[in-house]
C-alpha cells in the first residue's frame, strides 16, 4: 500500500518547537544552578578557612595589654597561671595559629591570649553523636522491623507517617523541650550535678535522629523480597526467626547506611545541642558533664566574631571539618545503599 503523501510530508519536515526548547534549557539551567550553589558554598567555606594556614598574625603578649587572663569570670589560679606563662612564651615564639594550637585541649577564643584548641569541640561532637545514636539506632531499627515485618496494615499506615512527621519537627522545639522538661527529668532520675549535659543533649538529639534511621531502615527492610519471607516460613521458621535471621541480615547494608546518615544528622545538628548540652567546652569522657559541639560553637560565636580575624577563620575551619565529615558519611552511605544492597540481590 502506498503511504499517503500528507503523512510523509509532515513527518519529513523537522520542526523547531520553541516552547519545548526553552523548557528543556530552563530545567537544565535550574539543575546546574543548584549544583553551582553547593560548589560555591563549598569554595566559600574553604576560602575563609585558608588564612589560618597562610597569613600569620603577630601574637600579642598579655603584659603589653596589662590584662589579667580570665575565662568567663573565673580568674585562673596561680599554678595555672604559671603553666600558662610557660606555654605563652612558647606560643609567642611561634606565629599566629599553629597546628599545635589547634590540636590543643582548650577552646578559649576570646581570652586575652586566645586558644583555639579544637579537641574539646571534636570530642564533644563525637560524644553527643555517639549518645544519640546509642539510643536512636536500636529504637528506630526495631520500630522499622516491626512496621515492615510484623505490623498489620492499619498499624503500618499510621506508624510510618507519624514517625516521619517527627523528622519535620523544628529542632528548636525539640531543644526547648529538652531544655525545659527532659533536663529536669534526667537530673531527678540520676541526681546529676549539671542540669544540662551531654546525656540530655544526646537524648534530645536522638529524637531528631530516630525518624531518619527509621525511614531509611524501613525502606531497606520493605525492599527485601517477600519471597524470602515465604521461603523461610515455609521451612517452619517462626515470624520472629524469619525477621531476625533472614530479613535483618539481608537488609544490613541499608540499615548501616541509615545509621551513617543518622550520625551525619547528629553531627551537624546545631539548635538542639546548643540549647540542651550546657555549652561548656570541657574535654572529658563523662557523659553527664556539659559539652560543646563544633556546630554549636559556630552557631553561638559566629554572630559576634570580628570579620576576618583569626577566630573568624577558625570557625570556618570548624565548618570545613563538619562539611568534610558529613560529606564523607553521606558518600559512604550512598555507596552502601546503591552498590552493596543491589549486589546482594543480584548475586555476586
Amino acid at each position: 500500500m502506498e503511504i499517503p503523501k500528507t503523512i510523509t510530508n509532515t513527518m519529513m519536515k523537522k520542526r523547531f518547537r520553541l516552547s519545548e526548547f526553552l523548557a528543556e534549557k530552563l530545567i537544565t539551567a535550574t539543575a546546574f544552578i543548584s549544583f553551582a550553589f553547593i560548589v560555591l558554598i563549598f569554595v566559600f567555606v574553604f576560602r575563609e578557612t585558608l588564612p589560618i594556614f597562610s597569613a600569620p598574625e603577630p601574637a600579642v603578649s598579655l603584659e603589653e595589654l596589662g590584662e589579667q587572663e580570665t575565662y568567663g569570670d573565673i580568674v585562673l589560679s596561680d599554678a595555672e597561671r604559671a603553666a600558662e606563662e610557660k606555654e605563652k612564651t612558647k606560643v609567642a615564639a611561634e606565629e599566629g595559629v599553629t597546628v599545635e594550637n589547634l590540636a590543643g585541649d582548650r577552646w578559649q577564643p576570646i581570652s586575652g591570649k586566645p586558644k583555639y584548641g579544637l579537641l574539646p569541640l571534636i570530642v564533644g561532637s563525637l560524644k553527643i553523636s555517639l549518645i544519640s545514636i546509642f539510643f536512636a539506632a536500636p529504637i528506630a531499627i526495631l520500630a522499622a522491623l516491626f512496621t515492615a515485618a510484623f505490623a498489620p496494615r492499619w498499624a503500618k499506615e499510621t506508624l510510618k507517617p507519624a514517625i516521619e512527621i517527627l523528622a519535620g519537627f523544628p529542632s528548636v522545639v525539640i531543644g526547648f523541650f529538652a531544655l525545659v522538661v527532659l533536663a529536669t527529668f534526667v537530673q531527678d532520675i540520676f541526681g546529676l550535678e549539671y542540669r544540662l549535659n551531654a546525656f540530655v543533649g544526646g537524648l534530645a538529639l536522638s529524637l531528631a535522629v530516630i525518624p531518619i534511621i527509621y525511614t531509611i531502615s524501613e525502606d531497606a527492610i520493605s525492599a527485601i523480597p517477600k519471597s524470602l519471607t515465604e521461603a523461610s516460613l515455609a521451612l517452619g521458621a517462626t515470624k520472629w526467626q524469619t525477621a531476625l535471621k533472614v530479613i535483618l541480615p539481608a537488609a544490613t547494608p541499608g540499615i548501616f547506611a541509615a545509621i551513617l546518615l543518622g550520625v551525619g544528622r547528629a553531627f551537624g545538628e546545631t539548635m538542639i545541642v546548643l540549647m540542651a548540652t550546657g555549652n561548656a567546652a570541657l574535654l572529658s569522657a563523662n557523659p553527664f558533664e556539659p559539652v560543646r559541639t563544633m556546630s554549636a560553637t559556630i552557631g553561638a560565636e559566629m554572630a559576634e566574631v570580628v570579620f576576618g580575624e583569626t577566630h573568624y577563620n577558625v570557625l570556618f575551619l570548624i565548618g570545613s571539618i563538619l562539611f568534610l565529615f558529613t560529606f564523607t558519611l553521606n558518600a559512604i552511605a550512598e555507596i552502601f545503599i546503591r552498590q552493596r544492597l543491589m549486589k546482594k540481590f543480584r548475586g555476586s
Binding site: 521461603a231 515455609a234 521458621a237 535471621k245 533472614v246 541480615p249
Partner: protein, 262 residues
C-alpha cells in the same frame, strides 16, 4: 463436582484429603468447594489455566494463604486425618512437615551451605558435623552436590537459575518434610534444567508425597501419577494421569488438554 472413578485405588493410601474447601480473598471466591484426595508416595499434578485457583489450592495445604491479608478458608484439609485448620494446630510444625518449593527460586542471600543449613539451624541444630552431613545429604538428594561441593561458601545467588531451584529443593529437604508442595517449580527454567527437576521429582516420589502445580501439560503427563484439572476455582476432574490425558471424562478437560483454550 469431580469424577469418582479413582475410587478403585486403595483408600488407605490417602495422605492429604480436602473436604469442601472454599477459599476467599475478600469477597472474591478463589476456590469453590474442592474435595480431593492425594496419595502417599505419589505425584499429584494440578493443572489448569492461569487464575484457576490451583496455586491457591496448593498454598492452602501448608497454610501459606494465612499470610495473605483478607484471605479466608472454609472446609477441611486433613493431613493424616487431622484438620490442619483446627485451632490447636501449630502452623510452624505443620510447615516443617509440609515443605514448599516456589515458582521463582528464592535462595537466601547467604552461602550455599547456610541456605541448606537454615532449616535445621532454626530447629536448634548447632552441631557442625551433623549440619555438614545434612547439607551434603540434602544437596545430593537434590542432585546439586556434584556441581557445588567445592564452593559451598559461595553465595546461593551466584548459581544459575536451575541450580538455584535445586538449591531451594535441597533447602526444603533439609528439614525432613514428608510432603513436598511444588508451585510451578520449573516454569522459569530452560529445558535442560527443567528435565533435571523432573528427574528429581521422579526420584523423590519414593520417599515423599508430592503435589505439583504446573502450566506445562507435558510435564504433568511425564511426572505425575494423578492429575486434577482446575477451572475457575473448581475442580473439574481428578483421575489417574494416564486417564486424564487419554480419555478425560469431561469435555472441558479435553478442551484444555488438547489446547482449545487456556
Amino acid at each position: 463436582m469431580y469424577s469418582h472413578s479413582y475410587k478403585t485405588l486403595q483408600p488407605t493410601d490417602v495422605r492429604i484429603k480436602t473436604e469442601h474447601l472454599n477459599i476467599y480473598y475478600g469477597k472474591k471466591q478463589a476456590i469453590k468447594d474442592v474435595s480431593l484426595d492425594m496419595f502417599t508416595h505419589r505425584v499429584t499434578a494440578l493443572i489448569g489455566p492461569s487464575g484457576c485457583g490451583k496455586s491457591t489450592y496448593l498454598r492452602s495445604l501448608n497454610r501459606m494463604n494465612d499470610l495473605i491479608e483478607n484471605s479466608r478458608t472454609e472446609g477441611n484439609v486433613l493431613l493424616d486425618g487431622v484438620n490442619i485448620y483446627d485451632k490447636q494446630v501449630d502452623v510452624v510444625e505443620l510447615r516443617k512437615k509440609v515443605g514448599m518449593i516456589f515458582q521463582k527460586s528464592n535462595p537466601f542471600p547467604k552461602s550455599i551451605f547456610e541456605n541448606v543449613a537454615y532449616g535445621p539451624r532454626i530447629n536448634g541444630m548447632n552441631d557442625k558435623k551433623k549440619l555438614e552431613d545434612i547439607v551434603e545429604r540434602s544437596l545430593k538428594q537434590a542432585a546439586l552436590w556434584e556441581e557445588v561441593k567445592d564452593d559451598l561458601a559461595k553465595s546461593g545467588l551466584s548459581l544459575s537459575g536451575g541450580q538455584q531451584q535445586r538449591l531451594c529443593i535441597a533447602r526444603a529437604l533439609a528439614v525432613d518434610p514428608e510432603i513436598l508442595l511444588m508451585d510451578e517449580p520449573a516454569s522459569a527454567l530452560d529445558p535442560i534444567a527443567t528435565a533435571k527437576i523432573e528427574e528429581l521429582i521422579y526420584e523423590l516420589k519414593n520417599t515423599y508425597t508430592i503435589v505439583i502445580v504446573t502450566h506445562n501439560m507435558q510435564q504433568a503427563a511425564r511426572v505425575s501419577d494423578y492429575t486434577g484439572f482446575f477451572y475457575m476455582g473448581e475442580l473439574i476432574e481428578f483421575d489417574e494421569t494416564k486417564k486424564i490425558f487419554t480419555m478425560p471424562a469431561k469435555k472441558q478437560t479435553e478442551d484444555y488438554i488438547t489446547g482449545r483454550f487456556g
